[in-house]
Subunit: 550 residues, 2 copies
């Protein structure tokens, strides 16, 4: 019998860009294909995707990409993978619709091979089979994946919570998960996002109570910001708006397109007469309005952020507005979010970020929910992913208390290969992996040397020093010139640098002055030394030597 | 009678760089002189200080700078102000010692005129007088300032909480605050940092219980990270280390110097035999050690951050270590802190950021404490500062519920002048104010155009295009050259740019080619257009024209 290998290329030891390979013999399947977001040191980077080299090198072995749900951190990188890899993609009806709408934006006319799988269905691919099992999460039709191998089931929990009162009434299929546990789960690849929260998380439908209170108490317009993919949240906003006699409009392109898609496909049910166009809000009293808006993470170009800067063309914030943050900050976004909140307050809005009755709940299960998943699926090996190392370590301690010995828990990191056979599991050789930093302006990857240069440029600016030299005779023909951008040193530094360059050129042997590369090094080094000595900064220095005729 | 004017140059509508002027007639005093920290868009900026133009223009009117306590956001900018302004500085014994130690670092030999004021003392300056009234906070000898004017007392609360069991046993002087209230407080200039936290905050001395639990349960070494100025916290760490049979060492220059200063001046009491040098930790068992470390905010060069990257020379993290975060993230630092925490976990440490028994409490009072301050001082006007607009707005709603009508509450912002006489209070003309972004490498201010250039450089890099031209004859003498740094566009873009530059030069009239400035504009614009068309990026483009002889 072949080994079963589990190889995360993203999403292990981090929250974001989920992408994991399951291999048995000569067959591979890929689970999810997501993006993550850059952190503050990633200058000029818009999104981060997994390095797909390993997949491309093994393209002939890959049977398909199986999508658990349509969040960006699970599907967002498909538009980068599919041009490299012709392979079928499997997703539920809603997932497929979301993927198509995103691919339409990015791939302009490409026609990926998407297969629809309903929750409960099983897809056979070669010697493997993949069963879709419904779980609850903050987007419709999220499914755990039960992958049958020769050694037992590899069960990806996907992002999940156990919500007994979900907005669409469709609960996690606990019965099926329990049956799989009895059949024999070899390894549980488990969400660990909220493993540091004790207890059992609140149901998504609790949010209705928070919205009802807020919509009722707000004296004027309600603006509500949230993730645009949270269709259940939209449904609750629509229902509570209807119930409290308010109309609902939408600000922000992505929010608009998701609501359209969800309504068209039957995933939200718009109460009659509740939805209005944003351009029509003037026709209604302020206390008859709810406006759903993008921008919950302080993204500079999102609708709410633009409103806070008074730059949004279609509506303005005014005194009496109430803004509800129906989302949590992704760590790292707090600064941008609070700056937006403060601007909204200064414009006269009342901003509610937290409330006794929740206006937001998480889509990921808390500790007791994760314990329940482990208990009913009863896996031989436990592999916490979808968490940073701190989450994985807490998960490990937790399942140790549940009776799993340490050698059956793998806090796997990206690029590691977990090899499992009937007798044991162990880490194999690391595969090629990494992260590509994507600049969406150019749809290009930002390499790490380029990132290093940007960091230096961003911190201390650039100094360009140029000189014309007769390279045949080794004679300097022009006075050096210096240009700076983003450099904050005093102008004396430039004067001193100029002198240093002249001195250095004069000190060169005439023979050396016939080599443009040597001259460039000499003038760059003269500037660098002067700057570091006089003001301790480290700008990027670029020397330009222009050849002159004698 | 003269107007009383209150003019915040920093610290109103923000948390940080506190600096407020109180003016009566031709006399001004300054309360505090602090720095704040840059946010993530402030490329290459280390600290932010208030623009002191208004003070410098009025230097003859200023009687003194009165320091409430020695936190950086209240004293950190003195080293920038004092060289411009010869003026006495008033502070308590501990405050003066901290200020001197910081000025020694930064002003190398300057000898500022610092006057010591004990809590309870009153300083007369011209027609004004300033009384120091003790309050509790996370640094010794914090004082509220009661400034007597012709119209009543202007009372700065300073940063405060009402801690009835402070570590040094010295509680807030509630009796005196109450007397001042009876005497007549014209305006309360109040801390609002924790106004969004309901109830009454826990006492600093509660932390001992959390530390006791953690020190007792930790199987090996304890590393504890905190703000280095929190002398009371240090005292508790020392006491609990002693009690649990551990020795205490210190990692990080600032932590070391503060502990030294506090011990020398009698503000911490080191239990005999408890303190050891960091280089001596090898002589003790792991479970006999506590190491206090800088780096609670993820600062890249702090001791704990260096340890997490395995770059700290004096000790290494190892399996079995327990790291306690005895501090809260300042908003915006979360990303850097969690990255550090994850690295510590991967090195085998157990990291505790929160615990049932608190290992950190805030130095600022919660809502009921602020209400208590308002109640006992019974001010005519209430002026919430030391808070962002969101805190100020919550404060305003809170005191409205306490019976203060809206026209007696001023949510003042930096640069605004609050003018008060016997009949009324209103905003006067805005004074010159702003923030200076300081690059500590060079002790220079980063101007906003420079910051704009750094942002552009950091996002998309720089392209330098150079050409040699015979300016007398208007003849291009060399093939243009292109150099890039931090630019991620494909190399074809450069090839196309080169062609565009050649075409543009060829298309110029010979007459125009005699003007270096015009040529520079033409070649820069050719590159910019090409780059924007082909890859939609916006790098900084620098054209260099080197004059050639025919």
């Amino acid at each position: 019998m072949s080994l079963v290998q589990i190889i995360p290329l993203g999403g292990a030891g981090e929250i974001g860009k989920n992408c994991t390979v399951v291999r048995q013999g000569d067959e591979m399947i890929v689970v999810d294909c997501g993006i993550s977001f850059p952190h503050e040191e990633h200058f000029g980077v818009d999104i981060v995707i997994p390095d797909f080299t390993f997949l491309i090198e093994n393209k002939d072995l890959i049977q398909g990409v199986f999508i658990t749900h349509a969040h960006e951190d699970h599907v967002g990188a498909l538009s980068f993978l599919l041009p490299e890899l012709e392979v079928p993609v499997y997703a539920t009806t809603f997932g497929a619709a979301m993927i198509k709408s995103k691919l339409d934006e990015r791939m302009r006319g490409a026609n990926p091979d998407i297969h629809i799988v309903e929750p409960g269905d099983t897809v056979e691919v070669g010697a493997l089979s993949v069963e879709y099992v419904r779980v609850t999460h903050s987007i419709p039709e999220t499914c755990a994946l039960a992958i049958r191998t020769e050694h037992g089931i590899v069960l990806f929990t996907a992002d999940f919570k156990f919500d007994f009162t979900p907005v669409d009434g469709l609960t996690s299929d606990i019965a099926r998960l329990t049956e799989l546990g009895k059949e024999g789960v070899l390894a549980l690849i488990s969400d660990s996002t909220n493993i540091d929260r004790p207890g059992w998380g609140p149901s998504e439908s609790e949010v209705s109570n928070g919205l009802r209170k807020a919509f009722t108490e707000a004296p004027g317009r309600v603006l509500m910001t949230m993730f645009s993919s949270n269709v259940h949240r939209m449904q609750q906003a629509l229902d509570v708006a209807h119930e409290t006699g308010r109309k609902l409009a939408v600000a922000g392109r992505r929010m608009e397109s998701t609501l359209q898609l969800a309504a068209r496909e039957g995933y939200v049910d718009i109460p009659e007469g509740t939805f209005i166009r944003l351009d029509d809000i003037q026709s209604y009293g302020d206390n008859k309005l709810v406006i759903l808006s993008t921008g919950s993470q302080g993204e500079p170009m999102a609708a709410l952020s633009q409103m806070s800067r008074q730059e949004y063309g279609r509506m303005q914030i005014k005194k009496g507005d109430t803004v509800l943050y129906s989302a949590r900050p992704i760590p790292g976004n707090e600064g941008a979010i609070w700056r937006t909140v403060n601007r909204l307050f200064l414009l006269g809005a009342n901003v509610i970020t937290e409330s006794e009755v929740p206006i937001h709940v998480s889509g990921h299960g808390y500790q007791e929910e994760v314990k329940m998943m482990v208990n009913i699926t009863n896996p031989y090996y436990v592999v916490p992913v979808h968490g940073e190392p701190r989450h994985q370590m807490i998960y490990r301690e937790m399942v140790k208390k549940m009776g799993w010995p340490e050698h059956r828990v793998f806090t796997i990191q990206n690029g590691q290969t977990l090899m499992i056979d009937s007798n044991k599991a162990e880490y194999g050789p690391e595969v090629e992996w990494g992260e590509l930093l994507i600049d969406q302006h150019g749809d290009v990857a930002v390499t790490s040397p380029v990132l290093g240069e940007r960091t230096a440029l961003g911190h201390d600016g650039v100094i360009v020093v140029s000189v014309g030299v007769d390279l045949k005779r080794g004679e300097v023909k022009t006075r050096p010139e210096i240009t700076t951008r983003g450099f904050s040193g005093p102008s004396e530094v430039i004067d001193e640098g100029m002198e240093a360059v002249c001195d250095a050129l004069a000190a060169m042997k005439q023979g050396a002055r016939t080599d443009a590369f040597i001259i460039r090094d000499v003038i760059e080094s003269a500037i660098k030394k002067t700057v570091q000595r006089t003001c301790r900064q480290r700008p990027v220095v670029i020397g330009v030597v222009v050849p002159e005729k004698g």
